[in-house]
Amino acid sequence: MEIPYTVNARQDTGLWNAKIGIWLFLASEVMLFGGLFSSYIFLRLGSGQVPGYVWPMHVLNVPMGAFNTLVLIGSSVTVILSWAALKLREWRMFKIWMGLTLLCALTFLVVKGFEYSAKFTHYGVFMRSGEILTGHHLHEVGEHYTLVPDAEGHGARGAAASAKGGAGHETQGTPGTQGTEASHPAGESQGAFPAGVTKLPDGTLQIEKAKVIRASNHGPRYNTFYAIYFTLTGLHALHVIGGMVVLGYYFFRGHVLYKVNPEHLANRVEIGGLFWHFVDLVWIFLFPLLYLL
């Protein structure tokens, strides 16, 4: 069966059908992301209600996020240039621009993968005293945890930021004392470790389990911020993968349709491009909300 109005516009709508289809789909996508963005608003407003709780800011890798923004905006341009090349019937240029788009998408995912793995191998130990010790290589040894603490300097700042992030919310102590403790970053001075923590000669911390509420990596369960961060960026990354599948199909199989009806392929690329711009658009909001503000 022939699908009608793939190239020529319908009289009553003035559009070819796929154009309406993709916009209806994008409308539903706006509501999907809108639901998660409103969760973000709700969580963030709620975090302001807890005394001593400060929403974590600048805890993600800003250069990596900025680089990914650049890559994604760049891929938005290349996808539209590939469409323009098809409109001009320049097949070679179409292949080049579409190839670059796919390369950008792959780069985005690889960078995101590095960011994720950095968070998954970075641990935080929530002490009963309200402090949070952060570091790498967390292991359980009998009645103790061992942890290689973050280096002083940038690591100490990271510890302070996550201590603020967790204080009063995840821990059950009084918010007042946590506020003061949060200003003492872990590892600031060697004698300032909370009770139950001893520093071994090689610099590793030995932490009594009895003094610990919980210990985990900076995954979704770490705190509210990481929960919404992984949910939003995870869904966005799935959209990037979905976009790659569609654009990859045009790249590898487009020649079949191009020989029969090049205008139809150009329209398909426009539709795929519209989805791709939407993915870019979501990232334009995600980047400042999660990395910067």
């Binding site: 709508t13 003035g14 559009l15 154009k19 309406i20 916009w23 209806l24 409308a27 706006v30 509501m31 809108g34 639901g35 963005f37 409103s38 969760s39 608003i41 709700f42 407003l45 709620g46 929403w55 800011m57 600048h58 800003v62 900025a66 923004t69 650049l70 905006i73 760049g74 938005s76 341009v77 539209i80 240039l81 323009a84 409109k87 001009l88 491009g273 519209l274 711009h277 939407f278 870019d280 658009l281 334009i284 909001f285 980047f287 400042p288 909300l289 910067l292 503000l293």
Partner: protein, 105 residues
């Protein structure tokens, strides 16, 4: 929409201009996030400025990359409804946050 080859070549130059504008705006967003705007201990100034820039960038992408600057009325009608619904969704969350329901018992 019928695009002549000349028109498309002109568009291409325009798209690259938009790309440059988006990059500049991204740099501005990153820079501004390290400068505190508004009273001490209040993040709302930065939030408003950051979101305004993001909305402007989204507008550029929507209007020019997604061709919304010259689209058919039916598309606008779909988007007006989407806009109303998504803003309504945000407002519902904000309203439910500010509505302190008294305990039942």
């Amino acid at each position: 929409m019928a695009h002549g080859p000349e028109e498309i070549r002109k568009h291409v130059r325009f798209y690259i201009g938009i790309f440059a504008a988006l990059l500049v705006l991204t740099a501005i967003t990153v820079g501004l996030s390290y400068i505190h705007i508004g009273p001490e201990g209040d993040n709302r100034g930065n939030m408003v400025v950051g979101m305004l820039i993001a909305a402007f960038k989204a507008g550029l992408v929507g209007a020019f990359f997604m061709h919304l600057s010259s689209e058919r009325p039916l598309i606008y009608r779909i988007l007006i409804f989407t806009f109303i619904f998504v803003i309504g969704l945000f407002l519902l969350f904000v309203a439910s946050f500010h509505d302190n329901i008294p305990p039942l018992f």
